[in-house]
Amino acid sequence: MTEPRMYHPRLPLFWYLRRPSYVRYMLRELTCIGIGAYAITLAVGLLRLAQGPAAWQGFWQAFSSPAGVAFQVVALAFTLYHTVSWFQLAPSTMPIWRGETQVPPARIRLAHYLVFAVVSIAILLIVGF
């Protein structure tokens, strides 16, 4: 007697288009492109800074050109999406218990946003003034 054949389904290549939650997941994962590209840009800027004032001027001109600004805007959009999705998931990774009750996830997220606001204002003040 032979074993009956099982059917082995294959995950479709474009599985992530099948549900809105999968699409949001894929967008979240793709934020790494914006963050990675921006980090490498900063690294190049650091190198140009180390090479002296003229090199830095050249970098800054490219960075603040229309194309450079467009890149920055796109990277910022990616990163903001990263921040929102990261905070959204934070309560699952680090749940907090007080006795028999769990601290509501919304409160943990709010704490994240408060710290985010303070850090952001501090950075803007330090750089801008």
Partner: protein
């Protein structure tokens, strides 16, 4: 007696007959208070006795009637026919091998469940009359994970299960975490041989859909992220002099 007719489109697979599953349609006279499982039973009893599907309790406790309903993993006994207008599509759970029609293979899951050692592990033999006291607060931290009914909706929702057949998967890992979090247990390190292996938590990319589809409000996605953090810290600890070698 019947309130209206709903068309059931069912993805059928009969290994002696076809290589790929095919859709078959049945017109089912439904009562307004029916669930999809009632429709499947009606087909089996009155329209086509060759249809194969699993069910037992009809009340979201046994976990055997998990199927894809209109493309989403759901319990057939917990999904009402009144939520569909003309047709409802029923297919076997995604990402799992199919034996026949709506019957998915459970053997692979049973094997994975065994590998995470889902039982209390203690360091020493506690003796015959030992008591294991636990406070309500100690119970609260793992209680939700005990609610799992092994329906495998989470496996059908997880693309990583589809991409990596060896991946232990949401339910097995959540159950491992249930014991890791139990104040009476000392087996986390032992379980990490499986849960922190290449087939364990590292395959997860936190899609999060497993927790969304769970009919018992278990949060496997959260459990797996907590295990990644704990396993990482254990791994760091193992690097220190005097730490355990893995």
């Amino acid at each position: 007696m019947s309130d209206r007719t709903l068309s059931f489109e069912i993805l059928r697979y009969r290994p002696e007959q076809e290589d790929e599953p095919v859709w078959q349609s049945y017109d089912v006279p439904c009562r307004e208070d029916w669930v999809v499982l009632d429709g499947l039973n009606y087909i089996k009893d009155h329209l086509d006795g060759t249809l194969s599907h699993r069910w037992s309790c009809h009340m979201a406790v046994c976990g055997s009637c998990g199927v894809m309903i209109d493309g989403k993993p759901a319990l057939a006994c917990k999904t009402f026919v009144r939520d569909f207008t003309d047709t409802v599509q029923v297919a076997p759970l995604d990402n799992l091998p199919v034996h026949r029609d709506l019957i998915s293979d459970m053997e692979g899951f049973a094997d994975k469940l065994g590998r995470v050692e889902p039982y209390l592990i203690t360091d020493e033999d506690p003796g015959d009359n030992a008591e294991f006291r636990q406070s309500p607060a100690q119970l609260a931290v793992y209680r939700q994970y005990t609610m799992c009914i092994n329906c495998l909706l989470c496996y059908a929702a997880c693309p990583q299960v589809g991409l990596n057949p060896g991946y232990l998967g949401p339910a097995a890992l959540a159950l491992a975490q249930r014991y890791n979090l139990d104040s009476r247990d000392a087996g986390r390190s032992q379980r990490e041989e499986a849960t922190a292996s290449e087939d364990g938590v590292w395959e997860c990319t936190f899609v999060g859909e497993c927790s969304e589809v769970c009919p018992k409000a278990v949060d496997p996605a959260g459990a797996i992220q907590q295990m990644k953090l704990a396993s990482s810290l254990d791994w760091l600890g193992g690097l220190l002099p005097g730490g355990r070698k893995s």
